[in-house]
Amino acid sequence: MSIETIIGGWVATGLTLFIFTFLYKDNPLFKLAENLYVGVSVGYTIIKTYDTVVVQLIWKPIVENGEWALLIPVAIGTLMLTRYVPKAAWISRYAFAFIVGVGSGLAIPRTISSFILKQIEDTVRPLLTLVPGEGVTFTWNLLNPASSLNTIIILVGVSSVLFYFFFSVEHTGPGKVVARIGIMFLMIAFGAAFGYTVMARMSLLIGRLTDLIEFTDPSYGRPSLWLAGLTILTLVVMARRSSSKQPKTEE
């Protein structure tokens, strides 16, 4: 095993344990890892943006292919930086106006097509299907999202939830019943989203614990064991120091 992998194992283990110390309480080890995380992430994003934008989208196309038109977005982007000059800050509005205008223009037809018409099309589907040899059938299979029964459930769900968020009509009488059904659908979806998120986090946790177990291997020098001990010792020392610093309260 290469030396950089072994050092990497020690660093990864240490940082993982430092973050986990937050489960005990907020402490300097966690803050150190937290700020390190922000720093490395920002540095990584800067390099990736530099590589994608400056090198791949600006420098190479201009120098290698002579795409001089790309200097126009560079100029528009540079206008944004006028925000640092208070007297000329208003010029940055041109750049924002361009981005917002293009974004809005792109959004209108595509949102209508993909997120409104397509979703309505998928919601309002035929209830009965024509199967060759069997004639017209109504399918009851709940496990098939495209079954006739599920088509009705989806239609009821979409309509009732949309009605619940429609405040131009007072939710009384039959409207109250529809809104209540909408709330039930919403609650089930929120519960499902919560359960799904918890399990996704658990999956990440299992991943981290698997790594910690891997780093107990002698080929790495057992960093998990050594650093776990060291981290616990540091927390104990810090807790003792902070308790001895606290002024004694009068009885």
Binding site: G39, S41, M184, M199
Partner: protein, 216 residues
């Protein structure tokens, strides 16, 4: 001057918005080419927006270090780690691996960023569980429905849950694919209608908050 400061940006938004909306309905190669170019332009301009954001972060932490405010050491750690990553990234030409061999930048990614990011999100599992324990009480019918749906989905996604409640796997799939999908669809339709309305307001100059305040 007000024309240059206020009217020209609105005019730019109007022309850019109408042009890009119209592009969708013109199935001509030139129109497709325009879309490709403008998408590339947006990526380039977005890169400059990152400069604004990062410089703000630089400024906040530099001020903290200069004034030696409480916790300035952590700001120093942030600075060093950020500059270190940038230096290593430039040295590795922004590549994590070359010919299958991990670069120094790849080392930073694999042994620092991935463990930090993974652990940071993983500890949320504990806080979510703790928050759920404190707040998930079936006080009303709606809360009970939410609780039951959450438990079924959690049980249905692990082998132990399926072993304990054999139906939970199928039920979880049904909740996610049918009930949850219908709600997501309804919310998506509502949000999309709002997006279209906001976009129209922006293009026609009724919504101007993106221009910021300050002098006219």
């Amino acid at each position: 001057m007000i024309f240059l400061r206020r009217q020209v940006p609105l005019l730019i938004t109007l022309i850019a918005g109408l042009a890009m909306a119209a592009q969708y309905y013109v199935p001509h190669p030139a129109s497709e080419q325009m879309l490709t170019s403008v998408t590339k332009w947006l990526q380039i301009i977005g890169g400059f927006a990152l400069v604004l954001g990062v410089s703000s972060l630089f400024h906040v932490h530099a001020a903290k270090i200069r004034r030696k405010e409480a916790g300035w050491g952590y700001s120093f750690v942030l600075y060093v780690s950020m500059l270190g990553t940038i230096a290593v990234g430039l040295w590795s030409n922004g590549k994590e691996a070359v010919d299958g061999t991990m670069t120094a930048f790849g080392w930073f990614y694999n042994f620092m960023m991935v463990p930090l990011q993974g652990t940071m999100f993983a500890i949320l599992a504990f806080f979510i569980a703790s928050a759920a324990y404190r707040s998930f009480r079936a006080r009303s019918r709606e809360a009970a429905v939410l609780l039951i749906a959450a438990v079924i989905v959690m049980m249905g996604r692990v082998p132990l849950g399926e072993y304990l409640i054999p139906l939970s796997g199928d039920l979880s799939q049904w909740i996610l694919n049918v009930l949850n999908a219908s709600v997501r669809r309804a919310i998506l339709i509502g949000v999309s209608l709002g997006t279209v309305a906001l976009s129209i307001k922006i293009i026609f100059g009724m919504e101007r908050s993106y221009l910021g305040g300050g002098k006219e």
